[in-house]
């Protein structure tokens, strides 16, 4: 288990992120893993070299709130997950609509567990 780990509801992603921003945390990274049925989204925030890790489990059917309105530097990673997992982030400050890395005629959602 990750240190400083908190599990949250998907609906709380944006509000929790705003709290971290208010407390002076920087957005360090974001991870997504397809577990077969769901997607684990893990947000890593840093303050004074200490990481806090927030995790929300989503089913991928509903759009997820983009945190790029709070941390603009998150726009690339959220676009990456749109490409690689087929997730949809709503409110992205720059939205490549699934074509950050992949071309329209290229492979789709290559990071899903059933894709080899």
């Amino acid at each position: 288990m990750l240190e400083n780990f908190t599990e949250i509801e998907a609906k709380d992603i944006l509000s929790q992120t705003k709290e971290y921003k208010k407390s002076g945390y920087r957005f360090a990274a974001m991870t997504c893993e397809h577990t077969g049925e769901n997607f684990e989204l893990t947000y890593h925030f840093d303050l004074n070299y200490e990481l806090k890790n927030l995790r929300a489990v989503v089913d991928g059917k509903e759009p997820i709130d983009s945190i790029s309105t709070v941390y603009p530097s998150a726009f690339l990673i959220e676009n990456e997950f749109q490409d690689l997992y087929g997730l949809v982030f709503q409110g992205l400050i720059i939205d490549y609509k699934g074509n950050l890395y992949l071309t329209p005629d290229g492979p789709t959602t290559p990071m899903m567990k059933d894709k080899k």
Partner: protein, 358 residues
Amino acid sequence: MAKTVIPFGPQHPVLPEPIQLKLVMEDEKVVEAIPAIGYVHRGLEKLAELKDFQQTVYIVERVCGICSFMHSMAYTQGIEKVMNIQIPERAEYLRTIWAEVGRIQSHLLWLGLLADAFGFESLFMETWKYREKVLDLMEMTTGNRVIISANKVGGTTKDLTPEHLKAILTTMDELTVLLKEVDKVFLQDYTVKKRTVGVGILTKADAEELCSVGPVARASGVKYDLRTTGYSAYKHLDFEPIIESAGDCYARTVIRIKDLHQSIQLIRQAVGQIPNGEIFVPFKGFPNGEVVSRIEQPRGEAVYYMKANGTKNLSRLKIRTPTFTNIPSLLKMLPGSDLPDVPVLVLTIDPCISCTER
């Protein structure tokens, strides 16, 4: 005034790797920049899920051709943490020495590219000539010039003999003298300063807002250097993060030049203190658990997230490289700049696109 969109890249003389910036221009001024990437996405994170966790060392070494060693360092450090492996102290020093040698060759490569970007060919050639000495050192100590394959889970694959350590110190002495020549030009030459001073300013507030890392952040006054957390042998070495405050192209150049001298000092300290002993500790089993491993690469903080489930394969490896997080800072620097300054400005974040796309 009508706006024009100019595509900068993906193929451009100053870009060693492909990235496109769609520059929205008003006359000769940039008013907006939108990046387009995806030219070198290789799916390495997916490949890592399909390979044995020890084979993955060779995959992460190929995330980047410049900071190859440090990618494997971040990865092995993470796996060792999740498996509770304490590597020998000598291996920690070896990793630190090779990491700093790698930082020197990376910064020298960048200085040459910068000189090339503003058309100073002789400065470019001179800087890369010095870099050759460092690459020769890497070849002598490991057998390879760039991808040195010196890391494995549990320690290092190679040791440094007393002759190697002596040669490293000799090269550091030579570099100290040689660098004085190019330092003078990069920091005092009228033409160079004309192209860098006051160009592409990123304020401290913007650097913090955009979560900048590495020399880009430190040139804007953000004191953030992961080496101060004391991973590997850095906990035994005496140094302070190098900070500048102007946030312009010149400050980003100053940071890297001072970084070079600091790396030389760190190598001298590490070579002076390296203990005798083993370079590898044997272990059994497979990793199980989650971990985040971070290190300070030449371009800034790299974040490695690993999730293992007790089998030989990781269920997830996520790599967040420094350029990935510095692209938003570049988009902030570009508006307001003149078109001829764009190449120099783009280079000052030291973009590594292979790292970014993996």
